[in-house]
């Protein structure tokens, strides 16, 4: 049994990644996720791993592409403006069906924006960050414990479905400390490439050459790869949706929120319950695939929904789609690095309860 330690969310991701057998980290400094790079720069040299501060986010994601091509568990981390730069590489990873971990500790935008917490990359991440028709697995942790657990999940799901996987956090989640139990059993990094017969590890003159590639000049071939990929996405949606239900048994109002705002919402829900308002929450944990089924099920019995988010209503649209606009989907949001207080969320809940 592993012991509880106190760690920042960013550090928990880094340590969990190492314990998952990740020995290749490539990054570029940007607030508020730099602790991940700092942690890796300390630990990797001591365990025979690679920490490389790349010349740019673009180079970093392409180094990940190279390392992932060899079958290794590889990762990079950044924050919103840096993720824009990585988008090209993410598209190539998806096009070459390479698993890799990308961490996005979001800050306010657009442009240089600010450095305070945000969830405004929601659309950008859940719709496949980059050109072309593709998706990546998107996980939204709400505790430091989940930062660690989902690091492992991201590697495992990514490999199972041959997709890039993203931890989509926000500045608060990255910066806060909470007790966390890290993955106890460490994965031996040497054992991972052997499970990937497609990896470029050198033919050893024993097999045909492997090619990692996303170029298909014949339209019918390219169409086939797209269809095949979306079959995998369908399977992913069927089997891997994750969410948390909180006080939903008798709820008449369903709050939908992720990350830091889900935590603020919990406080507001507790306060609203004291006032006799029947309110609960569905917290999506996977954002792609989006947990449509539990929302559709909730729509059959609740009066309405309330999304609480740090953007101009991006997840709000997904909730409307999930319930086919069958109920009102209200919104309580702040942007630019502002975070709604529990009072604000409570007021929004009261309004919907009327």
């Amino acid at each position: 049994m592993s012991e509880k330690v106190l760690m920042k969310g960013n550090e928990a991701i880094a340590e969990a990644a190492i314990r998952c057998g990740c020995r290749h980290y490539f990054g570029y400094p940007i607030t508020p996720q730099t602790e991940i790079a700092a942690y890796m720069s300390k630990r990797m040299p001591k365990i025979g791993g690679t920490f490389l501060q790349a010349e740019s986010e673009i180079a970093a994601i392409n180094m990940v592409y190279g390392a992932a091509s060899t079958g290794r568990r590889a990762m990079t981390s950044s924050s919103s403006p840096g993720i824009s730069l990585k988008a090209e590489g993410i598209s190539y990873l998806a096009g070459a069906d390479l698993p890799a971990l990308i961490v996005n500790v979001q800050r306010g935008g657009p442009g240089l924006g600010g450095i305070q917490p945000s969830q405004s990359d929601y659309f950008f991440m859940t719709r496949g960050p980059g050109h072309g028709d593709f998706h990546i697995i998107v996980l939204a942790p709400a505790t430091v414990q989940e930062m660690a657990d989902m690091t492992r999940l991201a590697f495992e799901l990514g490999e199972k479905y041959r997709m890039p996987a993203m931890l989509l956090a926000d500045g608060t989640m990255g910066q806060m400390m909470e007790p966390v139990v890290l993955p106890g059993e460490s994965v031996d990094p040497e054992t991972i490439p052997a499970t990937k017969p497609w990896a470029v590890t050198g033919t050893q003159m024993k097999r045909e050459h492997n090619i990692i590639n996303s170029l298909y000049l014949k339209p019918d071939e390219l169409e086939r790869t797209n269809f095949e990929r979306f079959e995998r996405y369908a399977k992913l949606e069927k089997e891997e949706c994750r969410w948390e239900e909180y006080m939903m048994e008798d709820a008449e109002i369903c709050v939908v929120s992720v990350g830091i705002t889900a935590r603020v919402s919990k406080n507001a829900i507790v306060a609203a319950r004291k006032e006799g308002i029947k309110v609960g929450m569905i917290r999506p944990i996977t954002l792609f695939p989006f947990p449509k089924a539990p929302l559709a099920k909730a729509a059959e019995k609740v009066k309405g929904f309330l999304t609480v988010e740090l953007n101009m209503g991006q997840m709000n649209e997904d909730v409307k789609l999930a319930i086919n606009c069958s109920k009102k989907v209200a919104m309580c949001n702040r942007v630019g690095g502002m975070i709604p207080g529990a009072d604000e969320v409570l007021a929004a809940i009261r309004k919907e309860a009327k």
Binding site: I115, Q175, M176, P179, V264, K266, G341
Partner: protein, 182 residues
Amino acid sequence: MTYETIMAGFGGQGLLFSGKVLAHAALIEDKELSWLPSYGPEMRGGTCNCSVIVSDDPVGSPIIAHPNVLMVMNEPSLDKFEDTVAPGGTIFVDSSLIARKVRRTDVEVVYIPATKMATDMEAKSLANMIILGAIVEKLRCVDPGKIEEALRETISARKANLLDLNLKAVEAGREFIRSQNS
């Protein structure tokens, strides 16, 4: 019981660190907790604060709207947070740095000349630990004895020589409260 503590002042006063020590002590006691720093572009001298929640129940939001414990080490922080304190809460003021008095009448206030005490101890940078000692002695939000254990875990080996001084500072804060009570 839930203690929602905001520690605020200038960057460089060790506010994030005293918050960490409090959080570590809570961890040692197996309490629920969260620690959240403000973060900004400035490394030193800017305003700085951290929020520490210590509770018997799982922590919801780590963001504190209405602290029931406020520790302030400069006047702008007192100005900023005084009105947010929950009625019945306690404000710890470093009275050697903040000239004015707390205006609220529905809160308890502890004025402690921490920076002067620290200077007298030739440990000028440890005023934060003196106030932390006062907080735990007065409120028992964590077992004061666990602070020592937390300090041993938090202070890096490189600065091990500072451990004794930190312990002394915490003890000075606790003694300050005890002497007021007697």
